[in-house]
């Protein structure tokens, strides 16, 4: 259901994706699908300990094994300066990255890479790993975020002295930094409140759980140039990180993004890619490295587990007068949890005069977190949206009306700083309230919940090229890996801009040597930012085509317009010449100046914030504590849907991941700090029989900075589900659950305790 629609030829429709055929026939090449002649198999030896000093590594037996062509350890990885660089919504430290791809002196989590081999077969590589002798001195470990913050906790990094506190501490700790956000005076705000609710929450670390394990094929030449093929959300970012880690010139490394089997933020950094390159450099042969599922869970980034405390004050009429939160996020083994966006998003949906948020970025002995859809926001907003629901129930107010009363609107000063421009939060609330789902009857043991979510969305650097082929069809290239149908959206925007058939545009994802820098696919930025580059490049083509027509007709370019895919004489010359099609102009290109092509590179600013409001019905089985999601509706302001079906798909997929986060998913560690459920059997993501259909409502409040009004879609939908489900469970059984996942044993225990 689309609430608002404009008159476009292609924008907002759902043509078959141009890369679809290859994906339904098995032809599409994903990360692990490339084979090169003479290719070796790369494998990684990983620490079985959560925290251990590496006293020595003896690789001599492995190196002597016939068929082994290269062995590397941290001795092969150059030591880098501690240097923070922006990485999308997060920050990245190069020294830590080097230490994460190969443990340096200390293994910091179960699964931390300590050595790698390249061999002529997988069996030989496995045998070689068995022959590497690592002498570990096991250290006490800590995984829980609050335990890691205690004064006597085992310290992961002897040089970590908390940032953001004055004076700077003299004792090392696991708290990398503290974040503070404050507006107004919360004490004064709470003093005015008629009702104050405060609650503590815990959320488990959850994995992005993309179906495709990380994979990379690296091939180094004798002259120091290299090619890399890998499944990544950002091959330009991979190029930058790998060049840094290997001490290469960026020009010497060409990275091709394979088809990518899901990422959700988890494929925005590097793990195997530099290792495969180092092995290839040492062996002088191509190397393919692919993670097992066990390695994906143990060694690649999940998101933070967290402990949160939230306090909200309202007056009796439902006006929120103060909001306060303390958020503690696990970063994993190296600093850099999504605490900053977590703090910024916590109260962002609401217009509140007095807000105070304190955040802690805490290292613990588990794999370094990676971005996961709206990194940080689902955790803090789950806590706030749960408390908002509790307030609505205590005030006897409809939870959507309470949100409407306090919703951020155009001109509201967001607690994290800026003043909102045109935003569609209130529109999502109105659409949710009007949806038949919201007033449908419920049965026994059933309950309904609602919750909302906010995410910034980002812009950033993108490039696109358009080449007009000799027959007038178009080759469109961008640098954005297509993770969920974005090539289709790019073709739509080019076709719309030029007024041509969408099937006349063939979009590809080009390698890093073929067009300008393009930041990774993440932050819901591709349709917005790369879309702007595509529109810009298409406009340049339109201008060029007008010039070619002007030349053909020997009139001024100002007297030619481009309309509905045709060059037409206009003004005084209107009607003087037969309009020319793209095919006509392409056929004559050599007579009018040569091939017709364009390129656009830009840094897109003005990303439009996104809001969503979800409704969920659950049934709680009082015997088992199992929660069944009966009905689910997700409303979201997308600005403008470009490819409608893939916008719906993003919303449905995000909601499903959120339901998994709410009900099933968690990292479980044994007493030694080893991950106990590193498989899809034990780490249970939602399966088809767990879910109902997920109804979507696309609200379109255009983002004024994008030519077609795009805001971005992919991240908002994972934010509301955890609170939506928790609020529904509370409605069903009258018990507020504050710990995720709300798995059957936890629900059953709550039912037994009556709290």
């Amino acid at each position: 259901m689309t609430v608002e629609s404009k008159k476009y030829k292609w924008v907002g429709t759902s043509p078959v994706r141009p890369d679809g055929n290859d994906k339904v026939t098995g032809r599409a090449k994903f990360g692990a699908d490339l084979m090169l002649p003479g290719m070796l198999t790369g494998k990684v030896l990983r620490s079985p300990h959560a925290h251990a000093n590496i006293k020595s590594i003896d690789t001599s037996k492995a190196e002597a094994l016939p068929g082994v062509k290269a062995v590397i350890t941290s001795a092969d990885v150059a030591e880098l300066e501690s240097e923070w660089v922006p990485a999308g919504e997060l920050q990245l430290n190069f020294r830590d990255l080097a230490h994460n791809i190969m443990a340096n002196g200390k293994a910091l989590y179960d699964g931390h890479a300590v050595a790698a081999v390249a061999a002529t077969s997988a069996a030989i590589a496995d045998a070689a790993l068995d022959l590497i002798k690592v002498d570990y001195e096991v250290l006490p470990h800590v995984i829980d975020v609050e335990e890691a913050m205690e004064a006597d906790a085992p310290v992961l990094h002897a040089d970590m002295f908390t940032d953001g506190v004055t004076p700077k501490p003299t004792k090392a700790s696991n708290i990398f930094k503290e974040v503070d956000i404050a507006v107004g005076d919360v004490e004064a705000g709470f003093a005015k409140a008629d009702l104050v609710v405060e609650r503590s929450f815990k959320t488990a670390p959850v994995h992005q759980a993309y179906l495709e394990p990380h994979a990379a094929v690296a091939s180094f030449s004798e002259d120091g140039q290299a090619e890399l093929w890998c499944c990544t959300q950002g091959h330009f970012v991979v190029r930058a990180y790998c060049a840094k880690l290997l001490g290469m010139d960026i020009a010497d490394l060409r990275v091709t993004a394979s088809e990518i089997g899901g990422g959700f933020g988890g494929k925005t950094t590097v793990y195997l890619e530099p290792v495969a390159l180092m092995l290839s450099r040492k062996a002088g042969k191509p190397v393919r490295a692919v993670m097992t599922r066990d390695e994906v869970f143990r060694a690649s980034g999940p998101t933070s587990g967290a402990a949160s405390w939230v306090k909200v004050g309202v007056t009796n009429d439902g006006t929120i007068v103060a909001g306060e939160a303390i958020l503690k996020y696990q970063a994993g083994a190296f600093a850099g949890s999504p605490i900053q966006p977590g703090c910024m998003c916590a109260f962002a949906p609401y217009d509140i005069e007095n807000v105070k948020v304190k955040g802690y970025d805490v290292v613990t002995n588990r794999s370094k977190v990676a971005a996961y859809r709206a990194p940080g926001a689902p955790i803090s907003e789950h806590a706030v949206e749960s408390v908002i629901d509790e307030i609505a129930k205590k005030l006897g107010m409809d939870p959507i009306e309470l949100r409407e009363k306090n919703a951020a609107r155009e001109g509201t000063n967001a607690a994290y700083g800026p003043k909102f421009g045109v935003i569609g939060f209130a529109d999502t609330l109105a659409a949710a309230k009007a949806h038949p789902h919201y007033s449908a009857p419920l049965g026994p043991n059933q309950g309904r919940g609602v919750a909302s979510g906010f995410w910034f969305n980002i812009g950033g650097s993108s490039s696109a090229t358009v080449n007009v082929n000799e027959d007038g069809t178009l080759a469109l290239a961008t640098g954005s890996p297509d993770i969920g149908g974005s090539r289709a959206s790019m073709a739509i925007m080019a076709a719309e801009t030029l007024g041509i058939e969408v099937t006349d545009v063939r979009p590809i994802v080009a390698d890093t040597a073929s067009l300008g820098y393009t930041f990774l696919t993440g932050g819901s930025r591709v349709t917005f930012a790369t879309g702007m580059a595509v529109i810009e490049a298409s406009k340049k083509i339109a201008l060029e085509l007008r010039e070619r027509a002007a030349k053909t007709w020997d009139i001024s370019v100002d007297a030619v317009i481009w309309e509905d895919g045709l060059a037409k004489p206009a003004g005084a010359n209107a009607g003087d010449f037969e309009p020319l099609t793209l095919a006509d102009l392409a056929a004559k290109a050599n007579q009018t100046g040569g091939p017709i092509s364009s390129a656009a590179s830009l840094n897109a600013e003005g990303a439009g914030p996104g809001f969503g409001t979800h409704i969920c019905d659950v049934e709680v089985d009082p015997e088992t504590g199992a929660v069944k999601v009966l009905r689910y509706t997700a409303v979201q302001d997308c600005g403008q849907a470009i490819h409608k079906a893939y916008v719906e798909g993003q919303i449905q997929g995000g909601a499903a991941q959120g339901i998994g986060w709410a009900l099933n998913e968690e990292y479980i560690y044994d007493e030694k700090g080893r991950l106990d459920n590193a498989s899809f059997l034990d780490y249970r993501i939602p399966v088809a029989s767990d879910l109902p259909m997920i109804d979507t409502v696309i609200v379109e409040v255009a983002n004024p900075t994008h030519p077609y009004g795009v805001r971005g879609v992919g991240e908002v939908p994972i934010i509301p589900p955890m609170a939506t489900v928790a609020n529904a469970i509370d409605s069903a059984i009258g018990i507020r659950l504050t710990e995720l996942p709300m798995s059957p044993p936890r629900v059953l225990a709550a039912l037994d305790n009556g709290s």
Binding site: R17, F30, G484, G485, A656
Partner: protein, 158 residues
Amino acid sequence: MAKIHVTTTINGEPVEFLCEPQQTMLDVLRDELRLTGSKEGCATGDCGACSVTVGDRLVCSCLMLGAEAEGQEIETIEGMADGDTLHPLQQKFLEEAALQCGICTPGVLIAAKALLAKNPDPSESEVRYWLAGNLCRCTGYDKIIRAVMDCAADMRGA
């Protein structure tokens, strides 16, 4: 250890290959026969990305040994289209946007085809339970389930 010689039929074609005794059918398909349409999501039978049919049975090829292919009729995603005509399920998946990243798609299509061969008129919940062994992390399953049901309806009508 000596390799095993296997004679089998894959997508209607006679095929011979040599494999290690412990080599899985998935590894044989991908690494020996270069049929990389079958995907490895887990190698433990939990994700369904490697689904193939052996005779009329739907199996996870990661749980089958290459040697077990002897004398069997195996179908993989590469054999699903008929020449240049997509199978109705493949066509429906494209039209209804039932794939996002597409890594689960080969396995889902093979499993859905096996379902429709057994039950041409499945209910929504029958489709959901049949496909419960095929994980998809991108779509939330909504469009997959709809595509399978819509395709089943078309095929019944045809």
